[in-house]
Symmetry: C2
Subunit: 319 residues, 2 copies
């Protein structure tokens, strides 16, 4: 029996899985309450795991963590959401609790492994999984194994600079993929564009943008407004797709993986977005560089399935 | 005894190497005459090799080829310099001639392997070797082995797009690293800048730029003029260094290798160029992504030394 744990930003999920079966033997989820600290999340997770195991010992434990991890050392570096995680030896904690081999990695790497072993990447032994959501991150599979980089920092396609004349990213440089393609940044760009239009010409009451504009503008708003043909929204969405497409094409030239697997909320933005991403990536890559770009299939469960694969690797003594 | 062969664009080099010794047992070089075809180059190379071997059978043969190679199939795809190379089964030809395991790869991958095993990359089991010359190309070492990509096309950092408002590259897209950072393109930019200056104000006779301008302007001219403080040359050189620095920083974010090794003529452009490349690469990469950037040490011999390493790998049945 494999124990799979997913420490998300706000959600904690534990599941047990019997190799050979097609679904979870058991599955539990809890929310990490606002203000929770690391030790509380760990305690909650351990309690769920012990309940699921009901006294049985797992063969191995795999963990997806929503933040930077030093894989080789088995330590969480920190969490951007929950205080107290700094330099936590999570692998040792789990080994001690469950007397089994354990492996811990960040969510992008683990999701990449999940899609490779159980999802949209099956049979494609080199791929980049990209999550396009509130941020843009990635995880590599090269030669059928996760590639984490010399300092466990590989996969940061979100901070590839693609336009030196672009807006400033939180990382301090202009025109990063994330600064143009992530949901919140596209929403901000649309809010600004609409405000300017409003200044030029008062919208008529009944204008559907008023209705959308009443709520908070999000990445979903951008996709919905673009689908309804709003010019500003189309422009923002296509600029986001352009940035991601350039990032993918550049990555294809550099590493030549067989496939790109895209997950995260922004990938629900409709056919216009997908077409633009594929077209720009194809134009950016050299003609001889072949690849395809497909949608992730495991959704929110990708890290949990990846944690299963990570545990199976740990069982084989493999990274 | 290892047989190492380097099919350069215009030069053919063969060498024999005894593992454990520090230098070549024997070494021969010939020029590929203008108008030569593939079969002539192969014949010349085989004759040199047999002469060096003097009847002995090599343990393995390693080959660097200056053009695209399908490593897995052991076939040269084509040469951009010499006709008749299309889909040549070079590995089989060499196996038949020398009755020994053989391996063939393109010059960037082989040079990367050479610098890793014998040069500036020793002990750094993840690195990108970049040649900055008439073109800009690269070869990866990941986990101590060459990473060639799904279709043997990895390493094309020269065609990473870094400025959508930049000049059009031969590949059809704007602002590629190669279009800004390679020797011939920097020379062209300097020629254009000087022509414009000349239009604005006639140079005085005795102006050193006249002397430089009499000959053909090359990448070396750019470096020399920049060293003498010519404003236009400094600008062109720094723009080239900027493009390469962005490429390196983006590659660092994406793959997180331990080291970048830079070779090729443009790397002789002086301290100003090196400082700009290092500064921009550091600014482009996230602060947590650590790496260094060093000069290649094997010079023109990198492909030959890499061919030795390739042959040693072939002997072990390793890629």
């Amino acid at each position: 029996m494999i124990l799979a744990l997913d420490f998300g930003g706000t959600k904690l999920t534990a599941a047990v899985f019997e190799p050979g079966e097609r679904n979870w033997r058991g599955h539990k989820r809890a929310f990490s309450p606002p203000g929770a600290e690391a030790f509380q999340d760990i305690t909650t997770m351990l309690a769920m795991a012990h309940e699921l195991l009901a006294g049985a010992q797992p063969a191995a434990v795999g963990v997806s963590f929503g933040g930077p991890v030093d894989f080789a050392a088995g330590r969480v570096r920190l969490s951007h959401h929950v205080p107290g995680w700094e330099d936590t030896p999570l692998r040792e904690i789990l080994r001690g609790q469950f007397m089994a081999p354990a492996a811990v990695d960040n969510d992008a790497n683990v999701a990449a492994l999940g899609e490779y072993r159980f999802g949209a990447g099956r049979g494609h032994d080199s791929l980049l999984y990209i999550t396009v959501s509130t941020g843009v991150g990635g995880g590599w599979i090269l030669d059928g194994r996760p590639w984490r980089g010399a300092g466990s920092m590989a996969g940061e396609i979100g901070h590839m600079m693609v336009d030196p004349a672009g807006p400033l990213c939180l990382c301090g440089k202009p025109g990063c993929v994330e600064r143009l393609a992530s949901g919140p940044f596209m929403a901000e760009a649309l809010r600004r564009a609409w405000s300017e239009e409003r200044g030029a010409k008062e919208w008529e009451s009944g204008d559907w943008r008023l209705a959308i504009g009443n709520g908070e503008i999000t990445g979903v708003t951008v996709a919905e407004a673009a689908a309804k043909g709003d010019g500003a929204a189309v422009k923002v969405l296509e600029r986001g797709a352009w940035a991601l497409g350039v990032g993918i094409g550049n990555a294809a030239n550099l590493i030549n993986p067989r496939r790109f697997v895209l997950g995260g909320g922004v990938t629900k933005s409709g056919e216009r977005w997908w077409q633009a991403v594929r077209r720009v990536a194809r134009e950016t890559a050299l003609p001889e560089v072949k690849f395809d770009i497909v949608a992730a299939v495991l959704g929110d469960d990708a890290p949990l399935w990846g944690a299963v694969a990570l545990a199976q690797n740990a069982l084989k003594g493999d990274a």
